[in-house]
Symmetry: C5
Subunit: 358 residues, 5 copies
């Protein structure tokens, strides 16, 4: 439980505060996931060829005319490597800083020779939610992608690259750039389903009364949806401004496809808001269940007390030791008292039953 | 109950996540309602003629000069058929993809030779709510409509088509296009009444205290209204942008009529928001009823306890076995005690009655 | 109570759904208030003359040059009559449809030869709230007003018309048009006072604890304020767009006066929002009163129980039948026990009093 | 209490409804504060001279060239006087109407020869909140101010006027106009402190449990803050549009100073919103205190009952009259029972103490 | 506690109200922190030289050509000193007034020869939150910074100034101006972590049930976050309008860096809103914990009462003194009664356990 609750507040620790006072453009990794080994994968391709290999930082160079290059980097703690990229591909120091600062808000930045996009790559892998920052850079004939840890949603793209007939092979680097954003946004729907499932199982727990830790889980879900929201909402704006400021790097055809991604972004946002509404309604439901059960308990107490308190009074009366209590000496007063008590209890039960108390 | 609650979360399963990584323009049916047979109905008409028939995919062709064509498709799982449409009527791959993806948000897309509109067709059929996606395509002299399942709100349009004097027969394909949207939006009012009725019967249940499952039903209604909202709200924007970007395909006269549909859309939205407010106020009402009843129960407990606890104490006093209790030996102490107890009880009842406790 | 609660949901029945599938421009009365007789009153006037009479539909004609005409119609179920108006005054079919559809949202529509305005006429008549749709049409020298039932807020206008020195007689039809809207908006303030009074009397009921049906009444008020809001809010937009799109039919002078009406509209809206806030705060107040009373009840129970339960235990002790209980045989143990019990009770009461429990 | 609660709703009585149907431009005082005597104070000044006197309506005239005039009127019920002003200073009938209608929303109106501003003058005088309407009119070389009752926040202005070196004496009428608005807005901060103090003392009452009428006072504060809000919020818009539509009557220098007033207006609005938040949080705090105390009371009941109910059962057992109860005849059973009962009670107390119940 | 609660309302005392009626441009310190000694630190530097010294007001002068000057002032109560600055650096009286008024909202003001920015410098120093106003003035070759008390976040800047290779030394005064804002905004992240920690420790207190003063602390946090919000939110607007109105004083390069600060401002705002959400959710959590515990207490009461009340009735029955009660004389009725009572109690416990009551 401790661990759970800490994760709520750990999102407050963005590492941003460590950078206080550093000169701008200082490349510093603000995350905690330091990999042993940074992996760099290069895809060099055009209509005819496809060269896929794991490369070293020394092998970095821009593609030749007529070729397109996609370099994917997994692991961001090696700031020297990132600076080497900056040198080879002519990237602005602020871009390099942003790549390594892994708590960026999704945003688009236009530079003279390239477009820089930061997005959150959120996906479900083996039932676990992964959330990492993806930096995408689109140059005239290359795409660079930087992610924090191995594992991503780009597998289908890699498969489609194998197929020489696919549009990715035929069209320019901008189409690859679009395709990467497209699969990234599509992965959001899986995440939404993941949360939908969690809410559903939580609802079952509430209905069945397994109410241990429900409140904690509701809070955790609320917070996770908030974190998700900060990742998903800005995507629409990013794509919108990508289309509006239509950089010369994007072909008209790709712009049409981007409109489609934008629609998916809007749809994901809608779904997210529905989930937030479901969470809120589940919270209300839980509280009303709690007080419903409380009411049930109270009713039992009331019925038992209300029936027996008067009866106890009656038996108390005939436990008194007055010298002159004529009833004590009658022959049938004991069975008569039982009769009176049973009918009183019966009458009360009938009254409560009429009043729908149980 | 299980089934009900599942439907809340099933809206999270849009099928969108299955498409993750597919090449854009891939036509894939994301729904679950696979019909045995896709029905294609064709209306070929102008002022003089009206030819209505069920056709085969092979019979698809554009209308001749001076004729207008309306083709209505029921059933979307046959992706080959949709692609045939794309070929004959020259539709963009993204349009075809959107037709088969049945969880689209209502939207308008302008292409060079046609207008593509996605709307939700929501209506009440035999007391049951139907909610399906309708894709409408307006070309220069044809209208295509794609729906997921048989059954729709277009019957009146079909009747009006029979009448050679009707405006639909006289005016262009754009008027038919408008008329289809018009009946679709008008059907929303029936849906609102349907929900109004449900809220009303729920309120009666609350008043009469039939409070089993009330909370579940309130949640279900809240969620259904949210789903409705996602279908109804964007309609205004769709029609607005239709009018603003006034595509050359719409005549000036039809634009005037669209303003009318827009007003109806606004009115439906208003009605929907009222329903949401009514739902929220019913929720509050239910909770306050619950605690009101609880209070009633507690009052009874209090009154009974408060009266009998002191009396029981009194009778306990005279049940003690002290050797020296002079009262025990007085002649009238027993009836006197009864007198004291009855007047104490009476005084308390009077006090509670004055205090409005019952 | 049933009747009240039904009225909450009846506003969902706008009659709009009956019109589903009808051709646009079909004039159909969507209300329920069918008068026996439709009254048409005509005011023909200019600086010199004033001719006021009840006319027949056959007598309808446009005014001559230099004359101004105001025709007021009470009763909308006679669709033939409305169509006759359309013919004589050259109105668009959609305008006629809107006149008879009495659940329109307030709106302004500009046509080539006239301005069409729909507003809600809401006023208090003999302590009862009346809410009906008013359609106003301003032509170059005539004003048409259509209302659902007899009785309106136009009496002062009729009086001012009698006075040949009044601005209404001197200025054009547009000034009469403005004056009608002005009195209609001014009537809203009476309605706000009406609701203010209802909230005030409800508050008194809550304070005095006459809490029967309070929750129902709060809900009804909330809903009525919502209905009111839908009528009053759009007025500002209507007048705003009237001024902005400054149709040639409105003189510059009248525009200045419209600015004044606009201010009143804003003020009415402010007042309405205050009422809604008051309603919400009254709701909170009611709930807190409920739980405050509940607390009071619980405290009494606690005090009585807490005092007598230990005492009952004590008297129980000396009611035991052990052979060897020395206290039973002491001479003063009975009065001593009373002393102990009285001082225990007194001590407890003092403790509770110190703790501010009563 | 009655008086308090009435004041909540009395703000709904704006007197606006009495004006229903009156011709526009009718000057009618809508307030209730009719003074015996209207006071008119005139300041005629320039760099050299300052003539301050109480004048009569007959002495009203525009200032000569090179002189500036400030006329302050206290008391608005004398409509003839207001109309005289209108005549002498060439004011529009609608302006005169607005001066006398004392429930205007703050607003700016530009006329050809003057600027008309309505603001709320809200200030604390001897611990009491005063709230009246101030109408300001800026002509080319005169400023007119109309207030409802004697007493205002302009004393510092009058003092600065005495000083021939002050900017007010040196600069034009527009600077005086600015200075009046400036002190009026500055007075808002005193009002905010006044409410801050009230909230603070209310909080102390809640903590110390003096909870009589707390709820009523919270509601009254909420409502008063709402009334304040309606007066303070629009000030920013008024000054904004004053600067934007930069009327030729305002010099460039004064515009710079107005920017400063605008900042103060924003700051006052911020402070007001903080107060509203504090009020809401105090409301929550009060409710949670109520239920906290309730919990405390319930715990005492529970502890007492839980301890004594089992003990009472035990002593009841040995009060039974069975012939064959061996314990009754043992020598030490009575002291043994006491031992058992004391250790049971002790054990329970220890359990409750461990569970943090008291 | 008193001190804490006072601090909530003390933010209402801005000192603004003391200035009521003062002539604009009057420099008056509105704070309470009067230092004994005002410290003025001067950094005169360019690529080659760096002269850092503590100076006297008499030594104030503008830098020579080719030199850049940063003067930092700690302590604002010496209004004569501020006026001397105004004279030497040609500042507008309103700027001087704003420097000394320490409750300004963050804002940007453009004057002809300089830019004036007000920001809140909020940072954590030795576990304590500091919040003071920072005024920054950027002239063509100088930067002035005014703060209320000693201690700031500028230490890293002073270190970077020592390094002749740093951009601060190389670039113009505008870069220093940017760098100061940059470290100030970066310090916000430390503040957010500080609050995150407080919320976390508060959550632990709630879970462990140390619920003394929780409500007070939640309220204080809510209010402090609100105060923080007023300081942090406007930063984005300030930087935005700095970039938009791109004053000639900022070089193109610095504008690019400002975009980066803007992103950080947005991120800080996001973080702040998350904290507010966490605070709200913690509030809900606390309330639900309270009622959960209450429920637990009530259940214990119910179980004990429900078991012993019927048993007490039974033993009461056999404490009656009727002459004819045959059970009293049976040999095994006493052990039999014990059997009945134990099995009743056992049955009830089983029933409650089945119902999940404990």
């Amino acid at each position: 439980m401790k661990a759970k609750s800490m994760s709520l507040y750990s999102s407050m620790r963005t590492g941003q505060s460590q950078k206080q006072g550093m000169a701008p453009g200082t490349v510093m990794y603000t995350g905690e996931r330091k990999l042993e080994h940074v992996t760099i994968t290069s895809h060099l391709f055009n209509r005819e060829i496809l060269e896929e290999k794991s490369i070293d930082v020394t092998a970095l160079h821009r593609p030749d005319e007529g070729e397109k290059l996609w370099i994917n980097v997994e692991g961001l703690h090696d700031t020297v490597l990132i600076e080497t990229f900056g040198e080879r591909f002519n990237l602005h120091p602020l871009t390099l800083e942003d790549i390594a600062s892994i708590h960026q808000r999704p945003k688009l930045e236009l530079y003279d020779s390239y477009v820089y996009v930061v997005l959150r790559m959120i996906y479900v892998k083996e039932g676990k939610l992964e959330n990492e920052q993806l930096s995408l850079i689109l140059g005239d004939n290359f795409v660079l992608s930087f992610q924090e840890i191995p594992g991503d949603v780009f597998e289908p793209i890699r498969k489609r690259l194998q197929n020489p007939q696919s549009r990715i092979r035929k069209l320019g680097a901008d189409f690859l750039f679009y395709a990467l954003i497209d699969v990234l946004v599509d992965a959001y729907f899986g995440v939404l389903e993941h949360f939908g499932d969690q809410l559903e199982s939580l609802e079952e727990d509430i209905i069945e009364g397994n109410s241990k830790q429900i409140m904690m889980q509701l809070r955790r879900l609320r917070h996770e949806l908030l974190v998700l929201r900060k990742g998903i909402w800005p995507v629409r704006d990013v794509i919108n401004s990508m289309m509006r400021d239509a950089p010369s790097l994007l072909s008209k055809d790709v712009l049409l496809y981007l409109r489609d991604v934008h629609d998916h972004g809007v749809q994901a946002t809608d779904g997210l808001e529905s989930l937030r509404d479901l969470q809120a309604s589940l919270h209300d439901f839980y509280l009303s269940q709690l007080s419903y059960r409380m009411n049930e308990v109270m009713k039992v107490l009331t019925i038992i007390s209300t029936i027996f308190i008067p009866l106890s009074f009656l038996v108390g009366v005939y436990g008194m030791n007055f010298d002159h209590m004529p009833e004590l000496h009658w022959l049938f007063s004991y069975p008569l008292l039982w009769l009176i008590m049973l009918s009183t209890a019966g009458g009360m039960l009938y009254y409560f039953w009429k009043k729908d108390w149980f």
